[in-house]
């Protein structure tokens, strides 16, 4: 229980720091901390496989990609664009209203009253069995999606003036 509170505190604090830190590089680093605390939550929820995959994919791949792009574009605090204060205030109010609506709609829902069960489902063995039996077709389609994303990213990132340079 204490670990839950600690991880939740770290996750929410770092998520807020992602939004409010001036430097984009700091945002990335705080987001990595948030992802690590979410991975801790996965371990608490007995989803060890997902925790490992989460750390590898998010902290290891996606955030490195973000960091790489920020360094490639040479973004820093000086050229960081800012909205004016009126828009920032409106954004905060809107987000607060969304939070209120979420709380109001989820509060006292009957399906929240279940208790934790004692079945092991987060291990690689059990998850793999489900993944390759019931979800085999979506799994294969995911590989096509990744291939399409790979080709698309290369196509988009390629310089348009290549022929002229040659």
């Amino acid at each position: 229980m204490n670990l839950f509170y600690f991880l939740s505190f770290v996750a929410i604090l770092c998520a807020l720091l992602v939004v409010f830190s001036k430097n984009p590089v700091h945002s990335v680093l705080y987001l990595i901390l948030t992802f690590f605390s979410i991975a801790g939550h996965y371990v608490l929820l007995n989803a060890q496989f997902l925790a490992v995959v989460h750390v590898i994919v998010y902290a290891g791949a996606i955030m490195v990609l973000f960091l790489y792009v920020i360094m490639l574009l040479n973004l820093n605090q000086e050229q960081e664009p800012h909205k004016d204060n009126k828009l920032k205030f409106a954004a905060t109010i809107l987000a607060g209203m969304l939070m209120l609506i979420l709380i109001a709609s989820l509060k006292g829902t009957a399906l929240l009253s279940t208790t934790n069960t004692h079945v092991e489902i987060g291990q690689v063995k059990d998850l793999g069995r489900v993944l390759f039996k019931e979800y085999l077709l979506p799994f294969e389609i995911t590989s096509i999606l990744l291939l399409a994303a790979l080709v698309g990213a290369v196509m988009l990132g390629k310089s348009e003036h290549k022929q002229e340079i040659k």
């Binding site: 998520a15 939550h41 996965y42 989803a47 989460h54 973000f66 792009v69 069960t117 790979l150």
Partner: protein, 105 residues
């Protein structure tokens, strides 16, 4: 049992709601397209956390498989999105989204 240590499911719902709201706040608050991207990742992760929590409490592995797929889609989305951002930076020399209010450059 070594998991979830008596944490009610509600707490995970509130935590996910808070993380999702912070993501929405970031999207509305910032003008840097890369930071907006990161906030979208934050929202995806809030949903992932909730899916894993429900999957654990109802002992249904499908939720964790969905999280697995969401991670794959997020990876694809980030690769394409950052490629688009680099294209945009190449043309406009900025990542400010206020520049992008016209469909044709």
């Amino acid at each position: 049992m070594k998991t979830a240590q008596g944490v009610p499911l509600d707490y995970y719902v509130w935590l996910s709601a808070a993380l999702f709201t912070i993501g929405v706040l970031g999207v509305l608050y910032r003008r840097n397209a890369i930071v907006i991207f990161m906030c979208i990742e934050l929202m995806l992760n809030a949903v992932n956390l909730l899916l894993v929590a429900f999957s654990n409490y109802y002992s249904d592995p499908s939720g964790q498989v969905f999280v697995f797929f969401i991670m794959a889609v997020a990876a694809a989305e980030v690769a394409v999105g950052l490629a688009i951002l680099i294209m945009m930076y190449r043309n406009t020399k900025t990542t400010d989204i206020n520049i992008l209010n016209r469909l044709k450059w």
